[in-house]
Symmetry: C2
Subunit: 227 residues, 2 copies
């Protein structure tokens, strides 16, 4: 049994390409694993609150010493982290907004990356005092980008602050493996965009099969076949 | 006469190191230029609304065809862009949050990077259809970071998605020159942190002098002296 956390970060509904990708992923997953649990979290349409000074004060206060006001300030953070704790696989649909995460997705990360919950801090570790608390999660990023050339060696590689940033943050959520499927050229609306959509749509069921296959062979020895 | 746009992105008040830096910068500026205008925009304590599907629909609708609802949805964006248009120098105090911008600052960028206002889009330009509309602005980033080694060649260079991302976005606001002063080691609270604070505090008036000196010699020929 696998638990999926399905996050969408686009403020758009029907018109969102990243939503179409994440929906396809979850449908393809469920086609073979109908009894797996899917937790849906729509941060695009219901953004988590942006963290405040009260939030910061609360997370740095021992749990049994928090005031009611402090407890209230981190209620959403508690919920979001509880969802994350249950998840084996995070399926994240997100557009690239101004070369990075939409603010709503960053608000999600700012709520879930939390001392004592998702990471521990110990100066005895020297210059690298932070360590994730959770382990073994897989992250699938399903993205849509207006331009192109954001991959390694691409013409806009240096302007890509989306999945590079997500990967950096995801480590502190216990993510150990990350996969990316992206649609490009949205602003051009040309043949390259159509081809990019087709390729992404084709890649989704392939990735589902690959992940389900590796999960079937876990925790037993991984075989070279598809289990 | 120079107009400064002073933005703070920290949700903290007195305890914010990036606020202390930006306050010092503005004070040092005013000490020599008391009649320059300073526009203050506190996104940390009053985050702009996160952009919605209605916002997107509105900015892609011709101005004279927008409904009242659409006009309302971009009212804050209009205000923020008007502030930006007036500014020659953007003074941005921001902490590094989870290796990037606080969500509130990303919400500011998502509101101000807007078609027809801060950038134009033309497919006749080929593979690079976006161009900034404004020109000649200078950006000063005053930052505070919990860890260290985020600069070129540093041990956490690959984890820095803050000023790298800000620089990418700032181009579309008409920013042509960017300066960075950052305090490091905040989480360590050790001597290195104290030294980093001292160095940053010393760098602020130096940068103010450098910028005021180059402004004095603009638009006339730039001289090698301090004008």
């Amino acid at each position: 049994m696998t638990t999926l956390l399905h996050i969408d970060a686009s403020p758009r509904g029907e018109r969102s390409l990243s939503r179409r990708l994440s929906d396809r992923f979850v449908e393809a997953w469920r086609a073979h694993r109908p009894s797996d649990t899917v937790i849906a979290r729509d941060v695009g349409r219901n953004p988590p609150p942006i963290t405040t000074e009260l939030w910061i004060g609360s997370v740095f206060t021992a749990e049994d010493e928090r005031t009611d006001e402090q407890r209230d300030a981190i209620k959403v953070s508690d919920e979001l982290i509880a969802e994350l704790e249950r998840a084996d696989l995070i399926v994240l649909g997100t557009p690239m907004y101004n070369y990075g995460m939409p603010a709503a997705l960053k608000a999600w990360f700012d709520n879930v990356i939390r001392i004592g919950k998702t990471f521990s801090f110990d100066l005895e570790r020297g210059d690298y005092p932070l360590e994730p608390i959770m382990t073994g999660k897989t992250l699938v990023i399903l993205s849509s980008r207006g331009e192109f050339g954001f991959g390694p060696g691409g013409v806009r590689e240096d302007m890509n602050h989306l999945e590079t940033h997500i990967r950096t943050c995801a480590r502190y959520l216990g993510v150990e493996h990350t996969h990316l499927i992206a649609i490009d050229y949205q602003e051009f609306g040309d043949e390259r965009h159509e081809r990019s959509i087709e390729e992404a749509y084709a890649a989704v069921p392939q990735l589902v099969e690959q992940l389900q296959s590796s999960r079937r062979s876990t925790p037993a020895t991984v075989t070279s076949g598809r289990g």
